[in-house]
């Protein structure tokens, strides 16, 4: 399983109800179902990934996240998960609010644009950072709302959300001592657990 999913699954209590936004091929939900008696649904819009979910017997609902979560009732899930997708939606603030309307807690991961490599790239080249990890040009990218850890935490404060856990990891989702010391500069990916 993907390393970030490995970390996330530990934060999900056994037997809980989970909604996974941008669930991909359903890896996390299949794991949670098989190992933690979790009942879950994934939202996905990519037809091939949806087909993979069907192969795994994972409940998948074809939906674009930009439609919001109006289809789901308040407090209908214990945990709402969204990995590596926050930066790709049109209204991250609305979606975050919606996630915490539908779920009691949320787990969110996103790339940190405040990482030193991004800063260095921008400072040195004067161009929008590109890397193996984020290979897109600025005009043709699914990632339209990059933020830094500090930006995200400011949004949480504004929405009066509590950050329960925060991990700063590198692109391979390894925990480093350095990233713990100065996450906004040295963490590449943030994994947050947030509640109302």
């Amino acid at each position: 399983m993907r390393a970030d999913l490995e970390i996330i699954q530990e934060w999900i209590p056994a037997g809980s109800r989970v909604l996974d936004l941008g669930c991909g091929g359903g890896e996390l939900l299949a794991y949670l179902r098989d190992h933690k008696q979790v009942h879950g649904y994934g939202l996905e819009r990519d037809p091939d990934k949806i087909a993979q979910c069907l192969d795994h017997g994972v409940n998948v609902i074809e939906q674009d996240l930009d439609q919001g979560l109006d289809h789901f009732a308040d407090d209908s899930f214990d945990v709402v998960v969204m990995t590596q997708t926050l930066q790709a939606v049109h209204y991250p603030d609305r979606l975050l609010r919606d996630m915490l309307r539908v779920g009691k807690t949320c787990i969110i991961t996103f790339p940190n644009f405040g990482h030193w490599r991004c800063r260095w790239y921008l400072a040195r080249q004067g161009e929008m950072p590109r890397s193996e990890f984020l290979p897109y040009t600025w005009y043709n990218t699914p990632n339209i709302h990059f933020c830094t850890f500090r930006d995200f935490e400011a949004l949480c404060r504004e929405q009066q959300l509590r950050v329960l856990d925060r991990l700063a990891v590198d692109r391979d989702h390894r925990l480093g001592a350095l990233a713990r010391w100065w996450p906004n500069l040295l963490g590449e990916i943030g994994i947050y657990r947030v509640t109302r």
């Binding site: 037809p47 949806i50 998948v60 074809e62």
Partner: protein, 379 residues
């Protein structure tokens, strides 16, 4: 030389008939003393009897869903694109049962059958049936075939409503429920279109209050109009535009009202004409009423979540982007209610230009998703 069918065809098939002698009580308060159901099967029932799939048909469908009745048949059954070896409903794995619903006009007891009380055709005296009644009769068919539990009940449009009703009426008797291009109940607009179709039939002078058989007539014009208006709702604006545009059949405009000028007029007339020659007017009325009446949540004050709470089956709900008869939003209502009731459900919203008819057309994405879901079903 024997005709060779395609490798993914079920090949030659023949319908069978079962006679039921136990009276069937109906939602309208009447009952059918005895009745026949005509059905076809494809594939082999396994020893555990755990691989049976029931196909429920839509308004004008019937038991002949796949394969050919004779090597000379021009066309295979109506859902041949989805039933056969290697197709979404794979007959190497599943034993498929497809019937003509009660009230139909393709061999099962219906308005054209002899009424034992009068010795003449039922005609307008045939009782109005509901989706629940159909499911009840289908459960009797399952009993007769020794099928205690379906691996899946599958249907499109009105067939999807029967599948949904199955999951509610007999939660223990199906493991999977596939509801395609359907709705949890009709909208006012849906009912309105049905009413136009019914009025076209009812006001045809050849209808004779439904007893046209005795008069030796057929309300052909009414049926034709009913089908024409129905057919418009099966296509999307785009698919009609693409197929016909404003293309003319004639070289020029005739400035009159009787010429068939636009291609789309010609097409609709052909469809209506063809349909009126093979379908029974009373069956058409009955089918549209069953559609209008379908509303399983009505028994729970309109609460679909509550209605679906006893359901045990896992669901696959499929809709098509340009279907405006039963739009994706209607399928999503079913999906959302299933999520609310904490049931297993997957929902596919297939991009398609073909409107409501898309459920009969084997577009790659549809076949892929439908097939992957069916493939995962344990038998």
């Amino acid at each position: 030389m024997p005709t060779v069918f395609a490798e993914d065809s079920v090949g030659l098939v023949s319908p069978q008939v079962l006679h039921f002698k136990e009276p069937l009580p109906l939602a309208c308060g009447r009952q059918l003393a005895d009745y026949e159901l005509v059905y076809e099967t494809y594939g082999m029932l396994n020893a555990e009897r755990s691989n049976a799939v029931l196909i429920c048909h839509a308004l004008s469908g019937h038991h002949h869903a796949a394969g050919y009745h004779s090597p000379d048949d021009r066309k295979p059954g109506w859902w041949d694109s989805c039933i056969g070896p290697g197709k979404p409903i794979d007959t190497r794995k599943f034993f498929v049962v497809s019937l003509n619903n009660l009230g139909g006009c393709n061999g099962s007891t219906g308005p054209g059958s002899r009424n034992p009380e009068t010795g003449r055709a039922y005609g307008a005296d045939f009782p109005v049936l509901t989706v629940e009644d159909w499911v009840h009769s289908q459960a009797r068919l399952a009993d007769a075939l020794g099928i205690r539990q379906w691996a899946a009940v599958v249907g499109g449009s009105l067939g999807g409503m029967q599948a949904l009703q199955w999951s509610i009426s007999h939660p223990e008797r199906l493991r999977h429920c596939v509801v395609i291009a359907s709705a949890p109940k009709l909208s006012a607009q849906n009912i309105a279109f049905n009413e136009v179709a019914r009025q076209a039939i009812l006001t045809d002078p050849d209808f004779h209050g439904g007893h046209f058989q005795e008069q030796g007539t057929i309300p052909k014009r009414g049926l034709m109009l009913a089908r024409m208006v129905g057919h418009i709702t099966y296509l999307s604006d785009d698919s009609m535009g693409e197929k016909f545009g404003r293309e003319l059949k004639t070289d020029q405009l005739n400035y009159d009202f009787h010429s068939v000028e636009f291609q789309v007029e010609s097409y609709l007339r052909y469809q209506g004409e063809e349909f009126s020659g093979r379908f029974d007017a009373n069956t058409y009325l009955l089918m549209t009423k069953a559609l209008d009446y379908f509303d399983p949540a009505a028994a729970h004050d309109g609460d679909l979540v509550k209605t679906l709470e006893p359901v045990k089956a896992d669901f696959c709900v499929i809709s098509f982007s340009t279907d405006w008869r039963f739009s994706p939003a209607r399928s999503r209502e079913i999906t959302d209610a299933l999520v609310g009731a904490k049931k297993n459900v997957s929902y596919l919203e297939i991009e398609s230009a073909h409107g409501h008819d898309a459920f009969l057309i084997p577009s790659p994405r549809y076949i892929q998703g439908f097939g992957r879901y069916m493939n995962r079903i344990a038998v």
